[in-house]
């Protein structure tokens, strides 16, 4: 018999039942109790195994503890099985070995369990998990509420975007209806003056190509008349309005151009209103106006010629015709000034100077002409010209300019009127030693006292104080 066989030999041992005197009731109590305990112990590792298999998320450390615990419980179960066996068979060595194995496993389990205790304690309890779960559910509910609010806000924003998009589309449609086929060309340019967008391009803008720097297609003057102001707007950020003319070949195109910065991207918008036809019409009108004025003056000349021939045929005094002729010439001088300013009006100082232009240089230093800038209406200018001619002629013949020391002043002022507009007060004042008032009422006096004041819509009067002739007239500007 080997040493191992001797160790496991039960020779000499008696079954444990002898200790219980083979009393059936005590034997039954032990057998049944140990069997139930063993069965219970064997079922626990199965439950642990089932639990571990169904919880693949368990940490490796927890799995190890579960295996140790299951082994320990299994060992405990085996000790109770041997408790039944040794009642009838004296396998006390095997029983002891099972207990030793169980003791070893229990020690390892305990050794592994104590260091893990803080970490196991850190595992939330069901109550804590329940609270956390409730909190999470509250948070989830809050988030759902927030999401719902965001959804509502998003829906509101989408509706707003839709509304604004429709508004913009309406505006764009109105803009297109308003500008399509109109005289307004629109363009957007980048900082390099590259055309990015063109709308309703009128000639020569229809030669441009979007996406290219094509100012050269607008003629040789384009870089100067259009490029320079565009760069000025890019540099200053201030809008600019200018009138440009683009000669291309034998054609010439004129535009009223407004250049505006377009946002922050270094872009500009150009709105060019085609005024080419307007310019042509203006030029044509000026030609017609000048031709009419020229014909009017020729008509005055014709009237002068007829008057002279009539006077000659009727043997009328030459002096009469000369006076008539001079009055027509005065009217012609006023027409000259009106034509010069395209019949818009006449500068009062120029009108006075024109009627005194015939005065010889040595007399001019005795004449003072003084007054603020004032533009008189065309219908007023011709009557004032006649009046000033009459006064100047008389002054050289009988008044201040016929006397060696005589002086003449023509002064006027412009005063605002309460009802709007302005009033001109003009005074022709002669300063002469000896004055001889006229003894009869001739054309000149009638002109100055009645005709001119009435024609200019004002008041006037001629007087002859000791100092010489004085004519005053007040009329609306």
């Amino acid at each position: 018999m080997s040493a191992i066989e001797r160790y496991f030999s039960a020779a000499g041992f008696i079954p444990h039942g002898y200790c219980l005197l083979w009393r059936p009731d005590v034997l039954g109590l032990h057998v049944v109790s140990d069997a139930i305990i063993a069965l219970a112990y064997f079922s626990i590792p199965l439950a642990i195994a089932a639990f571990v298999r169904r919880r693949p998320d368990l940490a490796a450390e927890h799995r190890r503890v579960a295996v140790l615990f299951a082994t320990f419980i299994l060992g405990c179960g085996l000790t109770h099985v041997f408790g039944i066996v040794v009642l009838w068979r004296p396998f006390y060595v095997e029983d002891g070995l099972v207990k030793a194995f169980t003791a070893l496993v229990s020690l390892i389990t305990a050794a592994a369990l104590w260091p893990m205790l803080p970490r196991l304690l850190a595992i939330p309890s069901p109550h804590q998990l329940s609270l956390a779960n409730q909190q999470l559910q509250a948070e989830v509910a809050a988030r759902r509420e927030a999401v719902a609010e965001l959804e509502a806000a998003r829906a509101g924003l989408e509706a707003e975007v839709l509304r604004r998009t429709e508004e913009l589309e309406t505006l764009a449609r109105r803009f297109e209806v308003a500008t399509d086929g109109s005289v307004i060309s629109l363009a957007e340019l980048d900082g390099d003056l590259r055309f990015l967008w063109l709308h309703n391009p009128r000639p020569p803008f229809d030669r441009l190509v979007v996406g290219e720097i094509t100012q050269g297609r607008l003629g040789p003057d384009a870089p100067r008349v259009l490029g320079a102001p565009a760069r000025q707007v890019l540099a200053s950020g201030e809008p600019l309005r200018t009138e440009v003319t683009l000669p291309i070949g034998e054609e010439s195109f004129s535009f009223d151009v407004k250049i505006t910065p377009a946002g922050q991207g270094g872009r500009i918008l150009i709105a060019a209103s085609d005024i080419t036809e307007q310019k042509r019409q203006q030029a044509h009108l000026q030609v017609i106006l000048r031709e009419l004025a020229h014909r009017a003056k020729n008509l005055l000349s014709l009237v002068d010629g007829i008057a002279r021939q009539t006077a000659r045929a009727e043997d009328l005094p030459v002096a009469l015709v000369d006076r008539f002729s001079a009055r027509l010439a005065a009217l012609g001088d006023a027409y000259d000034l009106l034509i010069t300013d395209d019949w818009r009006g006449v500068d009062l100082a120029a009108l006075v100077a024109a009627q005194l232009a015939f005065i010889v240089p040595e007399l001019r230093e005795r004449v003072v002409i003084d007054g603020p800038a004032a533009t008189v209406r065309p219908e007023v200018a011709q009557y004032l010209a006649l009046a000033l001619h009459e006064l100047a002629t008389n002054a050289t013949k009988y008044g201040a300019l016929s006397d060696a020391d005589g002086r003449l002043s023509v002064r006027w002022s412009v005063e605002p009127r309460a009802e709007g507009g302005s009033t001109v007060r003009l005074a022709w004042e002669e300063a002469v030693k000896a004055v001889a008032p006229p003894t009869r009422t001739g054309f000149g006096r009638s002109l100055l006292e009645r005709i001119v004041p009435r024609a200019v819509g004002g008041e006037g009067g001629l007087s002859f104080p000791d100092t010489g002739a004085c004519w005053r007239v007040v009329f609306p500007l």
């Binding site: 020729n298 000349s301 014709l302 009237v303 002068d304 021939q309 002729s325 001079a326 027409y335 034509i339």
Partner: protein, 118 residues
Amino acid sequence: MVRVLVAEDEAFTAIALVDTLERQGHQVRDAADGADAISLLDNFDAQVLVTDLMMPNVDGAALIRHVRARPGAGLPVILITGVPQSKLPEDLSYDAYLGKPVDHAELGRMVAALARRD
């Protein structure tokens, strides 16, 4: 007495100018347009030319250019026209300007002054 050539297409005006200048003692010849005036200049040694600007055939500007290009280019020219002086071509060479309707007294003074200068 000054020899004056008047170039004016409108008859009443032309005759009035001629009458005025003759009454002032001048010797006057009149032409109906610029072409007529150019022909007359070959046979009439004018001391002063009085010319309208707008005339048929050869206008006043062409007549003045002709005068300035021929011998005796310094012939004084009095321009009479309905066109204001400020609107006249800048290259038009004339010695005196008189707007229409003409101030006949002023015309007499101008003719005398230009003849003296000549």
